[in-house]
């Protein structure tokens, strides 16, 4: 089975397969590397790592293993309940052919109940034509910052830390409207360590989950309005994403340029859209992500700003 890098170190197991339906599991070990940075003192399994767990299990149960191995889109993803160290994730997968692509829908649960629901689209890297970005995203940003927001300043605004801090620099910001941020991809990132010398180039595809996570962190920065928020700051609740497309892979040496735009706001709930480009070519398109801002509860054990935590108002 071809190698692919993953932010999740644990092993994904297939417990049964019946035609297009299968069940996969993952023990979320407390020493998963992502927990150190997501978040310090407040470990929550990143929602995008749930997506990556589904991706890996899907590849193990792919009805046509020789083709359509790259995640070309995420149709809908909703996070319903946080996943924590020690949880056992179980997902029911259902495959469906869709023209030249394959769709895999997953219902993910922990022992406590439903955790997430998502649909991944798989296609062939070879058949994806690079889409053309409109000139304004290739040339520059409409609201350039004279002084970019650098990692030290980013850390004052979002709680993510190594190895899950996936924004390097904010180069454009129009508060409450749009933001432009950069993230460089390097083969020295921790998830590439497991790739052996025999792996081919496709093993170096930056995980779709992390392309999306990086863009979402940029969206979080737009919400924080560029203002510092510390522990006890507002909670960001990701309701879900839809219409996510990944036209071409991201590889070491690429610098992702994320564009995030606020499309709609209702009180303290916001929807964002945008895209990411590498050298002017689109690598990510996001039709819609819904984020709610909630004031934190006063209890000390809720300090921090957990993302991907669903509220049940």
């Amino acid at each position: 089975m071809p190698q692919a890098c993953s932010p999740v170190r644990g092993t994904v197991a297939v417990t049964h397969v019946t035609g297009p339906r299968s069940e996969i599991t993952l023990e979320v070990a407390p020493d998963e590397p992502v927990f150190r940075g997501h978040y310090p003192g407040h470990p929550i399994f990143p929602g995008v790592c749930i997506v990556d767990f589904v991706r890996r299990g899907a590849l193990l149960t792919h009805p046509e293993p020789g083709s359509a191995r790259r995640v070309t889109g995420v149709d809908r993803v909703r996070f319903l309940d946080p996943v924590r160290p020690g949880d056992r994730l179980t997902a029911q997968l259902n495959w469906r052919e869709d023209g030249a692509s394959w769709r895999c829908t997953a219902d993910v649960a922990t022992e406590r109940g439903r955790a997430a629901r998502l649909t991944l689209l798989f296609g062939d890297a070879a058949t994806e034509k690079p889409s053309e970005a409109p000139p304004e995203t290739a040339a520059g940003t409409r609201a350039p910052l004279a002084v970019p927001i650098t990692p030290a300043a980013v850390k004052q605004r979002i709680p993510h830390r190594h190895p899950m801090l996936l924004v390097d620099r904010v180069v454009g910001l129009a508060p409450e409207r749009e933001l432009t941020a950069l993230k460089a991809v390097t083969c020295n990132e921790p998830w590439y360590e497991a790739i052996t010398d025999e792996a081919d180039d496709s093993a170096y595809d930056y995980p779709a989950a992390l392309v999306i996570e990086s863009w979402c962190q940029a969206a979080s920065l737009l919400l924080s309005g560029g203002q510092p928020t510390g522990p006890g700051g507002a909670l960001l609740l990701f309701g879900g994403m839809s219409g996510v497309r990944l036209p071409r892979p991201v590889r070491p040496g690429d610098v992702m340029r994320h564009q995030v735009r606020l499309s709609r706001s209702f009180g303290d709930t916001f929807t964002f859209e945008g895209e990411s480009t590498v050298d002017g070519e689109r690598v990510l398109e996001v039709d819609q992500v819904v984020i709610a801002v909630r004031e934190p509860e006063p209890a000390p054990h809720r300090a921090g700003t957990p993302e991907h935590v669903r509220s049940h108002p």
Partner: protein
């Protein structure tokens, strides 16, 4: 039924659209069921609003959003906005 520039409101097409966002089968989205009883919550309600705004070329106010309790109410409000009531 033909849609002309998205202004003709097909009830069953709307039902399928809303059911897709709520991740349920259209048959579960009955006219009078409360959206929150079939899996909707405040964040999903916003997704429904944004998708409907894009699909039908309308805009809802926060006040109007609060009236989206059942599918029937959603349909009727949208029909009024589209002038097809």
């Amino acid at each position: 039924m033909t849609n002309t520039a998205g202004t003709v409101l097909d009830r069953e097409d709307l039902r399928r659209t809303v059911a897709h966002i709520l991740d349920i089968d259209p048959s579960q989205l009955t006219d009078e069921a409360r959206l929150q009883d079939v899996g909707g919550d405040s964040l999903l309600a916003l997704e429904v609003v944004v998708v409907l705004e894009k699909k039908y070329g309308v805009r809802f106010s926060e006040e109007e959003m609060k009236t989206f309790t059942t599918f029937s109410q959603t349909h009727d409000l949208l029909a009024v906005k589209l002038g097809s009531a």
